[in-house]
Symmetry: C2
Subunit: 382 residues, 2 copies
Amino acid sequence: MTTRLQATQSLPGLRLEFDDSQPLPLDSGQQLGSFALQFTTYGTLNADKSNAILICHALTGDQYVAERNPVTGREGWWGSLVGPGRVIDPEHYFIICSNVLGGCLGSTGPRDIDPATGKPYGLSFPVITIGDMVRAQVRIVDHFGIDQLFAVVGGSMGGMQVLQWAAKYPERVFAAIPIATAARHSAQNIAFHEVGRQAIMADPDWRGGRFLEEQTNPARGLAVARMAAHITYLSEPALHRKFGRNLQERQKVAFGFDADFQVESYLRHQGASFVDRFDANSYLYITRAMDYFDLAAEFGSVPAAFKGTKTRFCIVSFSSDWLFPTSESRALVHALNAVAANVSFVEISTDKGHDAFLLDEPEMFAVLDGFLRGCAQHRGLK
Amino acid sequence: MTTRLQATQSLPGLRLEFDDSQPLPLDSGQQLGSFALQFTTYGTLNADKSNAILICHALTGDQYVAERNPVTGREGWWGSLVGPGRVIDPEHYFIICSNVLGGCLGSTGPRDIDPATGKPYGLSFPVITIGDMVRAQVRIVDHFGIDQLFAVVGGSMGGMQVLQWAAKYPERVFAAIPIATAARHSAQNIAFHEVGRQAIMADPDWRGGRFLEEQTNPARGLAVARMAAHITYLSEPALHRKFGRNLQERQKVAFGFDADFQVESYLRHQGASFVDRFDANSYLYITRAMDYFDLAAEFGSVPAAFKGTKTRFCIVSFSSDWLFPTSESRALVHALNAVAANVSFVEISTDKGHDAFLLDEPEMFAVLDGFLRGCAQHRGLK
């Protein structure tokens, strides 16, 4: 196997490139020959390689967890949790965050060139799963010679990866923090994803997935997909508090189809700004990976997925999250209890909905801080 | 004013045509010159014209409340509630149900010919409100010489019309039954509608609203709009019970973007069948009318809308309805209590979500039966 680690000029961070001498097996039965993973690291790996924390990003997230995103120019998406003086501090930990396989910010995905054809993969990219994403991340962890991650942390789809890590590679995960997530994607969540995919595929500029080759961009469809999804990330009370029925600057409704209400222009902005940074095919692949996620289907049952685990779990949910409601986290806790796992669980009261995991939530920070300190003590880190 | 009442050949039911000698004033400040209303009636108006019940349909409903829909071939949408031997029985009542203004099943809407141009209105149709829909219905009631409706009944947007009738024409409504509705459309509901509108307007076949002229049809956009809306009509438990993560006939996921899960093919079917029966511009106009609905904005406050009312109210909500949750109905009850109105309220326990109002709900039927019998006694009907 030839593996190349390099800093890239085009994107800040590190890149691991694998040639086709040791292809990545995929859950679909296909395999990926040569592929690359783009990631960031912060802090220093200690001598016994026991202080590594892997952070897993959500559907539209990326590896720029604690630094400015080079595409959007925005601060790291979890900069309030990860960074100097924060709960996950590079002073103490070696922190890794990788763009997921199938993504569009450096790791191999449908917009990359298929070596077999010399053209962008598009829909000829193999369908990937959460399991495949994690199997790829193992290569990064192996590259650093890390036998056991001190912790794996993530919210939403990031939380699915955390669960997959803990279920598939239990001896490699000392502590797991799945936040605002579930052991399987619900029917309602699959339904919302399907609406988004249909919106993209209905856009004539999608061109059956060949929009890069044909130099078009299904921006309208992708924007509609993002708008629909964005509603599910918030809560009705949060929308009401933020916007209510407030109108745009003019004081009266315009009796037309321009954005009259602030919530409309907010959503339109969410849609329009998303298409500048995200690949429509990546959106299809990653939503599909979430839909397919189902620990019980893979391991027989959720308790079976964690049987005999020594990993310490800290499960966090948010009271107003209706995409991954607390009931999903409770089901996880029950499954872990059923196998006598070491698990703590906190539901945080907030009206901010699913998005709360990305926001300044002092209670979440305090919970994670306490849990990680306790685990560090047990692990012999100071 | 020249008014023509006629049975139409193309659509079962009755049609009232108004010429431009007495245009319909609209809330936007515009007016409609000549226009038509298509409706159905069942039963016989009694001698003192005291037994009329007006039924108001929801967003994508129509006037075929108790008979086969001539477009879809499906049974009347409220045939389980309205009809011989049912709670609302044409043996006792004179029942009226009208296609709303702005609709696409006979009443004037954006797909009709604008007499000023000889072309379909498209977006030159004036934006209408729930108040305008009701103002048009008054013409039908006047046509029959009915001073006071015995009852006005409707769910969802139909319930908004019920509330508008009771607020604007209190002396003309003896009893009001608003079901699964609210005194104003919430920010989240506006957001979902906006996604649907953006999906339609993103479809190149929409042609800026001129698709009829240009002989195209924004079917893909309208299907996506319907799919997104349809999720909001159900509940997570109902989706889980109906579909869960069940796969299509094949036993394994296909690792592709065809419909793998039953919930996906169900949604696709909902979208595809909708575009055959509904006009995309009507969808824009009617969703907008719902968004604009806000009794407090029109009357100063919700209690002010009902001050001094003698109407008897029966308010019904469903426990799993998250589009028009019980809290909205409770707010209505509180407002009506604040003006000492005669109001009863029932929350019906069901996992069927917002759609419950259209389904066989024995408890709802029993509540309506009891309420209508009591009102009939008070009104001197037997």
